[in-house]
């Protein structure tokens, strides 16, 4: 009998965990331990040689973290996943597994500020160059690819410009060049968009956002599709004996999860940004209700976008779920269940009115996160993107009058009330 392909909601609750063998515990047990005993010297050697699958040290793997990892691999319809400490760590570990000094990255310019800095400043210091391109025309990626390019990078739903990238076309361009497409799928979450279904090869997340969903927990994850041909000649680190792991050839030995194993054993093991088991456990509590929350985030955000569109204090609204939005067609293709809880708008009165709006809010929280159960507001030009020059801000889609909102799960009428009230107060400022 062919295996049943279980639905997304079932995977959110069950993937990666069967009841605990020792106790029968139904909930995921929290293995809050740094280390695991060896049965014998031979067992220890077997584990270190990767000949026996098992746990050694929580910096490398942990049974609670493993549930989070497998569940994420299942939700993204991927082959394997690696949990890490934060979303930034997910990007850094994924990229550092693929590149070395002298290599090159092509990235969409529409990025979270921290990612822009990682690529444009920190990796540049290591001799890894990034060309930032405007993703509006996917051919821009093709034009920027060089013989040293090792990956193409983009956010599925750009933050904070809230642009939808054409994943399928960019994936085709990356495939033509023989390099993987890495997609940051943080804002849609796998419930709204599954980049592997459109040809992406690696997905990274800040699990801190919708996956955890409650603003309590830092975490990140890297997922691989299992479909990239690492033996195409461009990735000797995947096919040649590993100097960092006593001669193992990762692609030959682990096949379609060789990238995840290499990221785990070569990059995370040595650089060290492991996910705490407690944080993995917290994230799993959130993920059980991901579909329910995302449906409500999307419904509330669409209602707020429509409300803002008709408001006299509002110059423009950017929400890809709105008909007439520049990315509405792409959103219908890649985000058919909804365009997330993230939206931005331009406030009449510019930067000063933006700051006044945020300060006037009653329960909408002024902070730097997104994807919380609570409604969040921020003025990107003066906070998340302040390290950028004005030209870079414009390229990242940040204007002085822009207010970004992450619409939460409060009573919709209360959210509309707080927005309307704050806009009125801002107009008087």
């Amino acid at each position: 009998m062919p295996d049943r392909e279980f639905g997304f909601e079932t995977l959110c609750l069950h993937a990666g965990q069967i009841p605990d063998a020792a106790t029968g515990a139904r909930a995921v047990p929290l293995y809050q331990t740094t280390s695991f005993v060896f049965d014998s010297a031979e067992h220890a050697a077997s584990l270190f040689n990767l000949q026996t699958f098992g746990n050694v040290y929580t910096r490398i793997s942990n049974p609670t973290t493993a549930v989070f990892e497998e569940r994420m691999a299942a939700l993204e319809n991927g082959r394997a996943a690696l949990g890490v400490a934060t979303g930034q760590a997910a990007e850094a570990v994924a990229i550092l597994t693929l590149v070395e000094q002298g290599d090159h990255i092509v990235s969409a310019g529409t990025l979270y500020g921290g990612t822009h800095t990682l690529l444009g400043v920190n990796l540049a210091k290591l001799g890894i160059a990034t060309t930032f391109v405007d993703p509006e025309d996917p051919e821009n990626f093709r034009r920027a690819i060089t013989p040293r390019t090792k990956l193409v990078y983009a956010e599925a739903l750009g933050n904070p410009s809230i642009n939808v990238v054409d994943i399928e076309r960019i994936a085709g361009i990356a495939r033509d060049a023989g390099v993987p497409l890495v997609i940051d799928n943080t804002v849609p979450s796998p419930y709204l968009c599954r980049p592997f279904d459109w040809g992406a090869d690696i997905v990274v997340h800040s699990a801190t956002k919708y996956l955890g969903g409650h603003g309590t927990t830092m975490g990140g994850v890297i997922v691989e599709s299992g479909r990239f041909p690492w033996n195409n000649g461009r990735f000797p680190g995947m096919t040649e004996p590993s100097p960092g792991y006593h001669g193992v050839r990762f692609y030959e030995t682990f096949g379609d999860f060789g990238f995840t194993m290499r990221a785990r054993m070569e990059t995370m093991r040595t650089f060290g940004p492991a996910l705490s088991p407690f944080n993995a456990w917290m994230l799993l509590q959130g993920m059980e209700t991901l579909p329910l929350r995302m449906d409500r985030h999307c419904a509330n955000a669409l209602a707020v976008a429509e409300f803002l569109q008709g408001h006299p204090q509002v110059a423009w609204v950017n929400y890809p779920g709105l008909p007439g939005n520049r990315h509405h067609d792409l959103a219908r293709k890649y985000l058919p269940r909804g365009a997330s809880g993230l939206l931005s708008f331009g406030i009449r009165g510019g930067a000063r009115a933006g700051e006044a709006f945020i300060e006037a809010a009653t329960f909408m929280s002024h902070l730097a996160n997104i994807g919380d159960a609570k409604t969040l507001v921020i003025h990107p030009a003066s906070t998340t993107h302040r390290q950028m020059s004005e030209a870079e801000q414009v390229r990242a889609g940040v204007s002085p009058d822009m207010v970004r909102m992450s619409i939460g799960l409060e009573t919709l009428d209360d959210i509309l009330w707080d927005i309307d009230n704050s806009l009125r107060l801002a107009a008087k400022a």
Binding site: M1, A21, A73, A80
Partner: protein
């Protein structure tokens, strides 16, 4: 509801679980004595998990404490699974030998895909697995691979009956 398309290969969880649960003796064709080679990884793991490993490789006398044979036909005892670590183009004659010695399963390892050899084995009444690692599938279905964050596709509310390591 979407279900995977039925395939002629044994590639679903129930079939692989049956093969792994009922097989005892595994002839590993192309087994290397080098500890860092994938074939050694897999054979050592399977031996540690209760299977009888019979190495088949003309280059060695013994591997993993077991006598090594030049070919499948030289093995003087029944074989359940012929596990092939050879290039795809070499699998045809190995399939013939597997049929001749009465093996029950022709298992082509991860990266080894010889469709004609698989069909030949199936026609002769053997089960056929292709492009899969026996160690990885054992760990995926009977516990252990979850350690590595691999999507095992196992969904169950029963306690695992077998724990790796």
């Amino acid at each position: 509801m979407r279900v995977f398309a039925a395939t002629p290969m044994a590639d679903d969880i129930a079939s692989l679980r049956r093969i792994l649960a009922t097989s005892k003796t595994i002839a590993v064709v192309g087994l290397s004595a080098d500890w860092f080679r994938p074939s050694y990884f897999a054979a050592k793991y399977l031996q540690e998990h209760g299977y009888r490993i019979i190495p088949v490789n003309p280059r060695y006398d013994a591997i993993l404490g077991e006598r090594c044979y030049k070919s499948l036909r030289d093995i003087p005892e029944p074989v359940d699974v012929v596990d092939v670590f050879r290039r795809a183009e070499d699998v045809g004659p190995i399939a013939d030998e597997a049929i001749a010695i009465g093996a029950k399963v022709l298992w082509q390892q991860l990266g080894v895909k010889n469709e004609a050899a698989a069909r030949k084995a199936e026609t002769a009444g053997l089960e056929s697995v292709m492009d899969r690692c026996m160690k990885i599938e054992h760990a995926r279905i009977l516990g252990g691979l979850g350690w590595a964050g691999v999507n095992t596709r196992v969904i169950s509310a029963k306690r695992p009956k077998f724990i790796a390591n």
